[in-house]
Each structure stands twice: as C-alpha cells, then as structure tokens.
C-alpha cells in the first residue's frame, strides 16, 4: 500500500471544536476555557451528537474527549458496507493518560472510577460505540501526543493488519483534580484536547472529498502536536 488519505479529522479543545481542518467553532456560553468538573457535559454533547448521553456522562474526562473527537468525525460506519468492523483499528496516544482518574481514585476509591484508571479505557468506549473490533494500541508518549499513534496506524495499513484506523491524541486533566494534589512539575498536564484522524486508502473513504490537502505530517502537527495551537 502506498497511498493513504485522511478520511476524516476532528479536534476539540479550549478554543472550540471542528472537523474540517479549516477552522474551529467556538463553544457556546457558559463554557469556560479552564474546564471545571462537570463541563463538557450534556450541553456540549448535544452539539456534537444525537446519541444517548447517559453512557457519556459516566465517563472520565479522557474518555469524554476521545469519545467526542471520534463522534465529531461524523463518520457513519454503517454506511460503509465494504469495510469490515474487525478490520477497523484504534490507536490512542497520550502523555497525561489516565492521571486525572488515577488521582481521583487514589483519593476516593470507587469502582466506577477504577474502570477509567487505564489510558486504554477510551479504546473500549470508542470500540463499543462504533462496534470496532480491529487491532488496538495505547501508547504513553513523553514528548508528543498523536504522531506516534499515526505512525503505528500507517504500519497497520501498510501491513494489511487493518483496512482503516482511527487515531486518537488525547490530553485530559480537570483543573480541580490537578489542584487537589501537589504534582511534580514534570507531571503537570499539558492542556486538554482530543483529536481524531481516520486513516485509510482512498477507495474506502466515507467522504466524497477525503482530506488530502498536504503531507500527512503537516496535518498531524496541526491537529495533534500542540494544545495551544490555533487553527
């Protein structure tokens, strides 16, 4: 396989959310940029999805961001009969991982939180939502978030381990959680965002016009590499 296209892309962060690589829509009020506990709830869910929010509201912040980024792709997998669900992979990369849930569980051990103390739980949530059964990978990366997952996705596609792969780059930490503990500086979260890319060969594209507006690495940098970036 020599050709890949970005079949769909999405981003959500403090500045807003979008899925067309040209700009972001701002969050409506009363959204606050410094995300407090309870934000990114029903109001914002209803902007992006018409599905049942009850499962979403049980999730931790990392899963909410990954789930919303995947939902924001607006890809109807059911309308892609040529692509088997067991050939759809998911690859997630993060620096902060599940630290937010880890801290909350260490403070108050509850089974409902424990399920989210793994950085790979978001894979389970997304796979359940879209019934994806292909290969999975979860990377914790020290300096970047996103491009490593994309590199692995490219390998899967090249080796025919998957027909399409959903890449997620997520950083998630509630300020209220962060302020509840004295974290060393180097563990401090690096903003919050969720980004998703659906990669695959051109013939599988769910969109009439797949994104192919530049080198893959440029798009990765634009979407995934800096939470402070502006689109």
């Amino acid at each position: 396989m020599n050709d890949l296209v970005i079949q769909a892309a999405s981003y959500l962060g403090p500045e807003g959310f979008g899925n067309d690589l040209t700009g972001l829509r701002p969050w409506p009020p009363p959204f606050k940029q410094n995300l407090s506990r309870g934000e990114l709830g029903c109001l914002h869910w209803s902007l992006l999805s018409d599905s049942d929010p009850s499962r979403f509201l049980r999730m931790d912040l990392m899963c909410r961001l990954g789930f919303m980024a995947a939902e924001l792709l607006a890809v109807n997998f059911d309308a892609m009969p040529g692509v088997r669900r067991d050939r759809l992979g998911v690859c997630v990369e993060s620096f902060t991982g599940s630290l937010d849930a880890d801290i909350r569980f260490a403070q108050t051990p509850r089974p409902s939180i424990f399920a989210y103390t793994l950085p790979s739980t978001v894979i389970g949530e997304v796979c359940i939502r879209f019934r994806l059964k292909g290969p999975v990978l979860s990377l914790i990366s020290p300096v970047t978030h996103g491009p490593g997952a994309i590199a692995e996705a490219v390998e899967w596609l090249r080796n025919n381990d998957a027909e399409m792969t959903l890449c997620l780059g997520i950083e998630a930490m509630n300020p209220s959680t962060e302020h509840s503990i004295s974290l060393p500086k180097n563990l401090s979260p690096r903003g919050w965002h969720g980004a998703a890319l659906l990669l695959g060969p051109p013939e599988n594209s769910p969109r009439e016009k797949p994104f192919a507006t530049g080198a893959l690495v440029d798009v990765c940098r634009k979407l995934c590499s800096a939470p402070e970036r502006t689109c």
């Binding site: 260490a106 089974p111 103390t117 796979c127 990978l137 979860s138």
Partner: protein, 403 residues
Amino acid sequence: MGIPVETAVSNSAAAIAGCGALCANGSGLEPLRHALASNASALQRRQFIIGKTSQSVVAGFVPDESLRQLRAADPVHADSRAFLFAVAALNQAAKNTGEILDSIPAARRGFVLSTTKANIEALDKLVRRQSVSPVAQRQIQPAFLAADLAGQLGCRGPVQCVSLACISGLSALQQGAALIRRGQSDAVFVAGVDLISQFVLSGFNSLKSLDPEGCRPFDKARIGLSLGEGAAAIVLVKSELLSSPPILLSGWSTSNDANHLTGPSRDGLGLALAIQRALAKAQITPDKIDYINAHGTGTPYNDNMELLALRSVFGGRVPPFSSSKGIFGHTLGAAGILETVLCVLALQNNLLPGTPRLREPDPLAPESLLGEPRAATKLRCVLKINCGFGGTNAALVLQRPLP
C-alpha cells in the same frame, strides 16, 4: 489525492535472545524453571491496607529479601520499586543474551516498556501527603519510567511505552518485533512491570474480582483472581544475528470485543479473532500449535470466555493448555512478558506447564487442560494469549524452527 507513505522495511524476524524475571518466585529464571517443573504456587497470604481497613490478601508478592538486595544496590531508586524490579529483570535478560549485544550500537537498540500503572504507589503516597523522592514521583508517569529504564540500559534507539490493560505485555512484544521487522532496531529490550499497591488492590477489591483464598484458574469452583507483582524482560534481536536455531516471534495480533469495559465478551469471538489473525500472520494452521498458555485469571467469566474462544478456533482438538496465574498471580502489565518467559522455558525444556491450584476442572474445559506439568516429545509451536479491560485481546505465536 493520495499521500505517499515512505517506509523502510527490513523484514527481519524477531528472535528471543535472552530473558529475565523477578516475581513472587524470586529473582532469575531458575525459580521459574523450578516452578514450571514442580507446579508450585508462590502465592502468599499477607495483611494489606485496602481503603481504611487491614485485610487479608492472597497474592504473588516479590520476596522481601529480593527487594532488600535491590534497594541496597541502588539507594537512589529505593522508593521506586517499579524501576528496581524492571532493572533487575532487564539486567538478567542482557546477561543471558551475552556477547551479541556488544556488537549492536546503542542507537540500534530499542526499548519498549509495558505497564498499566508504573510506579503507582508513589501517587498513593502523594495523596496521603507522605514523603516520596523526586525520582519515584517522576516514575509515576509511565513514559518517564520507560525513558529512565532505556537510559539505564544505554538504549538510544526508539523508546515506546505501551499501556493497554492486561494485554500490555503481548502488545509490547508485538511492538518490539515490529521495530526489528521495520529495520528501526537490531535489538529491542522489552520489559513489563507492575506493582501490588493499595491503589490496585483497592480497585480489584471494589470490583469484587479477588479470590480471598487464592485463584484457581479453570477450576469448577473458581471465584476470582489473585494479583501478582514483578517484572519480566525479553531481549529481541534480528534472527540472523543468532547462530543456533532461535525461538521466533512468528505471529501476533490484537482485537477488541466492542462489548463491555470491565467484563469479557460472553462468546469469546474477539479473542478467537486475535488468535486466528496471529496464526495467519505466522502462516500456520491451528493443528500446528503444540501448547497454549492461556490468560486464565480464575474469574468465572474470563475463563469461560477463553474456553469458548479456544473451542471456536480449535474445534474438538484444543491443544494442551494451562494457566500460569496460580504460580505468580496476575502481574497485569508484566503478565504477557512474564508468561512468555515461562513459555520460552517450556520450549527450551520440552515441558508443558501445568495449572497450579487446579482441583476440579471446569466441566466445560476440554480434556487437554493440563493440571500437572507434562514432558513433551516435541514442543515447537506455542500460542500465548491475554485479555484485558476495555475488551482487549492479544495473541502471540512462538516458534522454534527445526534444527
């Protein structure tokens, strides 16, 4: 419209050059060989603080004497057990690999860490406002633990950290093999480590997943798992660097059930899919598998799901299989690598491992379930499987080619 993708592929097979382990059985491969032959369990009962109460727990704890020796040898990392455990296993693996490593430049040595919670007990201490050294705090972050371990070993090639629930270990081995196949490394250190901590015990206790008397995988009366702690390491190298017929990682795959966050699927089809893909990648048919090392945690649902998956792939001819969790417990992020080390020992010794602590097999289990170890006339092809939270499944095929 397409975006060209440039790749450099060597297509070298990844071979196992050396192994190391530190677990409830002690330090080194000899205690594991003994456990393999004797079917002995190293699970122990200890009092542990869970939440705010002291409770009796049966688990696979690293022996105190091993920990004391590691702390004495490296006081800087004395309160980062994850680092100490992993270094112990990695040093053994490097030593067992031998001189071949000397010929591989640092930039061609990769490193892949598998862990679910890294040095999580430092976070427990931070929350309780207890004293924790800066290095132990830093190694709460799995990527930093990976970087520190790679630095300790002098690996300057690619460094990755996989955290994929209980399939982390097999996934890390897959990543290591992929680095060699892609030509990005000539040798890759793959290590797995996890700790028994208040955090982890509280979590599994809250899910009511622990067997208070110790796990009994595939037993009719099984009611839960036993946690374990420790580290295991495997050095993978390009197969052409080894002179004697090596043990190869010939096939691997992962899959997702898309069913439930903390429970396995009821039909086993996700795991069956991972096994079928791994066999296809290894270019072998199911009848070539001589032995299966199962995930076999001892929880009713997991073991049942695995039995269904094995029936689905192998039909009425399920090869001899067993679970090793009764030996050293469920070591989470270390499990896939530690259990693969056990499979390597089985291949080297022509010995099929048993299932310690099994009393009365589940009636659904095929007769090929091994309660006791058994000598094998030929043992060439082993399948290792693991499953985890989030509906994740992994399978790995190890092959010893004919001389």
